[in-house]
C-alpha cells in the first residue's frame, strides 16, 4: 500500500518535473555551445505557467475538434507516461503492451494532424502532409526496433521486456536503443529533420502544426509534446541502461539515479548534436531515416539469430 502511494507520488512528480527539465537542459547546452549564458534551466516551467494564464483566440473556421485534439493529446501523453517503462524502477500503474504504446503515439499524431487541418490554414496543412510523410517513413524503424526486443523476450508486454527477469543480450539492447532514439528524433521533428527553433513556416513540421493554437490550448499541446519527448527519450535511455544488467541488481535507488543520469546525458548529447548539425533539405530526409531503418533491421536480425536468448 505504501509502495503504491510512493509510486503514484513519484510518477506525478516525474511527469511534472522531468519533461520541462529535459527541454531546459537541451536549450542550456545549445546556449553554452553558442557562447551565450542562455535562459535558466527552469525557463520552460515559466513559459508554461505564462501560457496557462493567457487567453485563447481560435480561428473562426475551427470546430470542436480543435480543443478536443489538444485535451486528448495531453491525456494520451499522461497515460503513456504512467504506464510505459520510461524510468526505472517501473511505475507499473497499468499494463503496457508494445503495440498499444505505438498506436497511442499514432493516435497522438492523428489528433495533431486533425488540429492542423481544422483551421484551413495552408501552413498547417502543408505541415500536416510533411508530418504524415515523415511518420510513414520512420514508423517501420520504430516498430522493428521494439519488435526485435519483443521477439527476443517472447512477449510484447513492455513492462516484462524491460523488467528485471528479461534475458540479456547487450548488443541487441544497444542497437535497438539507438534505432529507437533516431526514430524518435524524426517522430518528434527534431534536428536534423526540422529545427525546433526555426520560424520559417514553409519548413516547419511540428511548429506549423500548432501554429494556430494559443493560450491554454498551446500550453496543453506543448506540454503533451514535451511529455512524449521525455517518454521516447526515456525508453531509449532504458534500452542503453539494460546493456549493463548489473545496474539492475542493486536496488531501486541506484536504478532511479542511473535513469535520471542517463536521461540528462542523452539530453546534453542531443543539445550538442543539434548545435553541430544543420537541418537537412527535405528531399534528403529519407537518407537520415535510412540510418534508423538500417539499425532496426540489424536489431531484428540479431534478435532472430539469437534464437531463444
Amino acid at each position: 500500500m505504501q509502495e503504491q502511494i510512493i509510486n503514484i507520488v513519484v510518477s506525478v512528480l516525474s511527469i511534472l518535473i522531468v519533461p520541462p527539465l529535459l527541454i531546459g537542459t537541451i536549450r542550456k547546452t545549445k546556449a553554452r555551445l553558442q557562447n551565450r549564458i542562455g535562459a535558466p534551466l527552469w525557463q520552460p516551467f515559466i513559459d508554461m505557467t505564462k501560457l496557462f494564464r493567457k487567453d485563447e483566440t481560435i480561428s473562426k473556421t475551427a470546430s470542436w475538434a480543435f480543443r478536443f485534439s489538444a485535451a486528448t493529446a495531453m491525456a494520451i501523453s499522461v497515460y503513456l507516461a504512467v504506464t510505459s517503462p520510461w524510468t526505472a524502477p517501473q511505475l507499473r500503474l497499468g499494463p503496457c503492451d508494445l503495440f498499444l504504446f505505438l498506436y497511442l503515439l499514432a493516435a497522438f499524431r492523428f489528433l495533431t494532424l486533425l488540429l492542423a487541418l481544422d483551421t484551413s490554414s495552408p501552413f498547417g496543412t502543408f505541415a500536416a502532409s510533411r508530418e504524415a510523410t515523415l511518420s510513414f517513413l520512420v514508423e517501420p524503424a520504430a516498430v522493428l526496433s521494439l519488435a526485435a526486443l519483443a521477439v527476443a523476450a517472447h512477449t510484447s508486454d513492455l513492462n516484462l521486456i524491460f523488467g528485471a527477469g528479461a534475458p540479456h543480450n547487450g548488443m541487441l539492447w544497444v542497437i535497438s536503443g539507438s534505432a529507437f532514439l533516431l526514430a524518435g528524433l524524426v517522430d518528434l521533428s527534431r534536428m536534423p529533420i526540422d529545427d525546433p527553433t526555426t520560424h520559417l513556416e514553409l519548413t516547419m513540421v511540428h511548429e506549423a502544426l500548432i501554429l494556430e493554437a494559443s493560450g491554454k490550448n498551446l500550453a496543453l499541446l506543448e506540454g503533451a509534446t514535451w511529455l512524449k519527448f521525455a517518454v521516447l527519450l526515456g525508453v531509449s535511455a532504458q534500452c542503453f541502461l539494460h546493456a549493463f544488467p548489473r545496474l539492475y541488481a542493486n536496488g531501486s535507488v541506484v536504478e532511479a539515479a542511473a535513469s535520471i543520469t542517463m536521461l540528462l546525458l542523452l539530453a546534453v548529447s542531443l543539445g550538442t548534436f543539434e548545435s553541430l548539425t544543420v537541418k537537412l533539405h527535405w528531399r534528403k530526409a529519407p537518407e537520415f531515416i535510412a540510418y534508423a531503418l538500417t539499425l532496426a533491421f540489424i536489431a531484428s536480425i540479431v534478435a532472430l539469430g539469437a534464437g531463444a536468448v
Partner: protein
C-alpha cells in the same frame, strides 16, 4: 419496404444467435429446386457468426436506405433497388448456409449478378456502365476458377458435400489453388483488385456498405470452411497467399492516399483490410502446417475479429459517405469542405469510423489489428525455420508503415471533407441528413466503441469455432494486456478534467492567419493532390506520378499570368497488364469471328468437316 428489410435482418440476427452452439441442418423440400439442384443447408457456429454480422450490417443499411432511395428516386428506380437488394441478401444468406458445392455456386452467382445490377443502378451514366461491366467480368472469372476447383474435387471424392472433402493429400492441391484463386479474385487481393475501386463507388451507398462490409468477406468464410475445416496441409500455398496479401495491403493503402474521390478512397482501403485478413489466414495455415496450436488460435482469432470489426467500421464509413453525397451532391474531395459545422452528426460518426479504421485505441480497430500483430509476433519466435520467422518480423514492420499511411489517408478524408472551409458553393448549402439516416450511423459508431471495450467477451463467444477446428479455446485472456475499457475510461476522465480546468470559457474567435496575403479564393486550401504529394513523389514508379507545370505570361519569370499545375497518376496494372490482355482477347475474338461469314455454303461445309472428323475419331477409338 425498408421496414420489411429491417425485419428480415433482425430475423437473421436472431437465427444466427439460435444456431450458435449447435449445428442446425435445414432440410428444405427437394421439389423447391425442381430436381436440378441438390440443396443442402447447414448452419454451424461459423455460419452463425457471419449471419449475425450480415444481419447487423443489413439492418443499418435498411434503415439508411429508406430516405436515401426516396431522395435519389429520379436517378435510381426504387423497385429495381429493393428487388435486387432482396436477391443480393438471399444470395449471401444461401452462400453462408450452403453445405454442398452446387448450392454454393448457385448462391454465389445469385449474389454476384444481383450486386452487378445494383452497381449499374444509375445506368444512364457511362461510368456506372463501365464499372458494372468490369465487375461482371471479374466475378465471372472468379466463378470459373471456383467451379473448376469444385469439379476436380468432385471427381476425386465423388461427393458434392463439403464435409466429405479433405485437402490433405497432394493431389488435392491443384483444385485447392484453383478454388483459392477464384476466392481471392472475388475478395479483391492484388493483382485482381482492380474491379473494387470501380464497382464500390458507383453502387448506391448502402449497397457499397454491404459489398465492402460483407460480400468481400464471404471468400474468407469459404476459405475457412474449405481449407481450415478441410485440413489444407500444402506447404507453399500459405506463402503464396501471404505474398499476395502483403502486396495488397501496401498497394491498397498507397492508392487510397492518392484518391480524389471519397468513396474510391474507401474502396482502396477495403483492398488493404482484405489483405490484412488474408495475411492472418495465411498465418493460420502456416501455424497448422507447423502443428503449433498457439499460433493457430491467435491467427483464427485475428481473422474472425478483423472480419467483424472491419464490417462494422467500413459500413459506417460508407454510410457517412452516402450522407455526404446526399447533402452535398458530390463526392469529389476538391469540392467538399467545411461540412463539420453543417453536418455535425455525420462528422462525429465519420471521425469515429476513421479512428477505428486507423486502429487507434480504444476502438475496435485496435483490438483486431493487435490480434494480427500478436499472431505475427508469435510466428516470429515460434515457427521452426528462420526464413519464415524473418518474413513474419518483416511483415510486422510493413504493417507499421501501412498503419501510418492509413492514418494519413483518413486524416485526408476526414479533414478535406469536414474541416476547413467549403471549396464550392453547392457544398456550403449542405444540411444535415434526416434522422432515419443518422440513426444507423450513430448505432454503428456506438458499436465500434462497445466491441472495442468488450472484445475479450466477444472472443469467448467464438470458442465453438476454434474447438471445432481442433485448436482449443480462443486466447481471450491475451486481451488482458490491452485493457481497452480501462484506457477509454482513464482517457475520458482525463479529458473531462482538462475541459473542467482549462477550457471553462469559450475562446475569442478571429480569422485564420493568412501571412498578409489577404482574402483568397475558397479553393486555396489544401487539396486532395497536395496533401498526398510528398508520398506520391516517393512512389513515382508505382503510381506513375507526374507533375506538369505550365507557367505563361508576358514575363514568365517575374509576372506570370497563368500557372497550370497538373498532377497525373495512372494505375500500373490497368495500363500495363489488363489493358493489353483485354486488347489481346479482343483481337483473338475478332480473328475467330471471321469464321462467321453468313454464307450458308460455308456453314454446311463446317458441318461436313465436323462430321468427317468425328467419324474418324470414332473409328480410331
Amino acid at each position: 419496404m425498408s421496414a420489411v428489410f429491417l425485419l428480415g435482418s433482425l430475423l437473421l440476427c436472431i437465427g444466427g444467435a439460435c444456431c450458435w452452439s449447435k449445428t442446425v441442418v435445414l432440410a428444405l423440400p427437394q421439389w423447391l429446386a425442381l430436381g436440378w439442384l441438390p440443396i443442402d443447408l447447414r448452419c454451424d457456429t461459423l455460419s452463425a457468426f457471419f449471419l449475425t454480422l450480415l444481419g447487423v450490417v443489413s439492418a443499418a443499411c435498411a434503415v439508411f436506405s429508406a430516405q436515401y432511395i426516396s431522395h435519389l428516386s429520379d436517378r435510381i428506380s426504387p423497385r429495381l433497388y429493393w428487388n435486387c437488394l432482396f436477391i443480393f441478401m438471399l444470395g449471401m444468406v444461401l452462400v453462408l448456409l450452403a453445405a454442398n458445392a452446387p448450392t454454393f455456386v448457385v448462391a454465389w452467382e445469385l449474389m454476384s449478378l444481383s450486386s452487378a445490377v445494383l452497381v449499374a443502378s444509375e445506368y444512364q451514366k457511362q461510368k456506372a456502365q463501365t464499372s458494372a461491366f468490369i465487375y461482371l467480368v471479374a466475378t465471372r472469372i472468379a466463378t470459373i476458377f471456383l467451379t473448376a476447383g469444385f469439379l476436380l474435387m468432385f471427381s476425386k471424392f465423388h461427393d458434392i458435400s463439403f464435409t466429405s472433402w479433405s485437402f490433405s493429400s497432394p493431389s488435392t492441391w491443384l483444385p485447392a489453388t484453383l478454388i483459392l484463386l477464384g476466392l481471392i479474385i472475388k475478395a479483391g487481393i492484388w493483382p485482381f483488385h482492380i474491379w473494387l475501386p470501380h464497382a464500390h463507388p458507383e453502387a448506391p451507398s448502402p449497397v457499397s456498405a454491404l459489398m465492402s462490409g460483407i460480400m468481400v468477406k464471404l471468400p474468407v468464410y469459404a476459405a475457412l470452411r474449405l481449407f481450415v475445416f478441410g485440413d489444407l496441409t500444402c506447404p507453399w500455398l500459405p506463402y503464396l497467399l501471404l505474398t499476395l496479401s502483403a502486396v495488397s495491403v501496401f498497394w491498397g493503402v498507397l492508392f487510397a492516399l492518392n484518391q480524389r474521390e471519397l468513396k474510391r478512397l474507401l474502396a482502396y482501403s477495403t483492398v488493404e483490410n482484405i489483405g490484412l485478413i488474408f495475411i492472418s489466414l495465411s498465418v493460420l495455415l502456416l501455424g497448422r502446417n507447423a502443428q503449433l496450436a498457439v499460433i493457430g488460435r491467435l491467427a483464427l482469432m485475428a481473422v474472425l475479429i478483423h472480419v467483424f470489426c472491419h464490417a462494422l467500421f467500413k459500413s459506417l464509413l460508407f454510410l457517412c459517405a452516402g450522407s455526404v453525397d446526399f447533402s452535398a451532391h458530390t463526392r469529389d474531395l476538391s469540392k467538399l469542405g467545411g461540412l463539420g459545422k453543417r453536418m455535425p452528426v455525420t462528422f462525429a460518426t465519420f471521425a469515429v469510423g476513421s479512428a477505428a479504421i486507423c486502429a487507434l485505441p480504444p476502438l475496435n480497430g485496435f483490438a483486431s489489428k493487435w490480434s494480427i500483430y500478436q499472431a505475427l509476433l508469435n510466428c516470429s519466435f515460434g515457427l521452426p525455420d528462420i526464413v519464415s520467422r524473418a518474413i513474419c518480423l518483416g511483415l510486422i514492420g510493413l504493417l507499421g508503415g501501412v498503419g501510418a499511411l492509413a492514418v494519413a489517408s483518413f486524416v485526408k478524408a476526414l479533414g478535406l471533407t469536414f474541416l476547413g472551409k467549403p471549396r464550392s458553393a453547392q457544398v456550403s448549402a449542405a444540411r444535415e441528413v434526416p434522422l432515419s439516416m443518422q440513426l444507423p450511423q450513430l448505432a454503428l459508431a456506438v458499436a465500434c466503441f462497445l466491441t472495442g471495450a468488450f472484445a475479450p467477451y466477444l472472443v469467448t463467444l467464438l470458442d465453438p469455432i476454434s474447438l471445432a477446428v481442433g485448436l482449443g479455446r480462443m486466447p481471450s485472456a491475451a486481451f488482458a494486456s490491452i485493457p481497452l475499457a480501462q484506457v477509454a475510461l482513464v482517457s475520458a476522465s482525463l479529458i473531462g478534467v482538462i475541459y473542467l480546468v482549462a477550457f471553462r470559457r469559450p475562446p475569442a474567435r478571429f480569422e485564420t492567419w493568412d501571412c498578409g496575403f489577404g482574402t483568397t479564393t475558397l479553393r486555396s486550401q489544401v487539396s486532395a493532390d497536395s496533401f498526398a504529394q510528398p508520398i506520391a513523389r516517393i512512389f513515382t514508379p508505382v503510381l506513375q506520378y507526374h507533375l506538369t507545370v505550365d507557367i505563361s505570361g508576358h514575363d514568365r519569370r517575374h509576372f506570370p499570368e497563368k500557372i497550370i499545375v497538373e498532377p497525373s497518376m495512372v494505375s500500373l496494372l490497368e495500363t500495363r497488364v489488363y489493358g493489353p490482355l483485354a486488347w489481346l482477347i479482343q483481337r483473338c475474338s475478332q480473328l475467330v469471328a471471321k469464321l462467321q461469314t453468313g454464307s450458308i455454303h460455308l456453314y454446311l461445309s463446317y458441318v461436313c468437316i465436323a462430321l468427317i472428323v468425328l467419324l474418324a475419331l470414332g473409328a480410331r477409338l
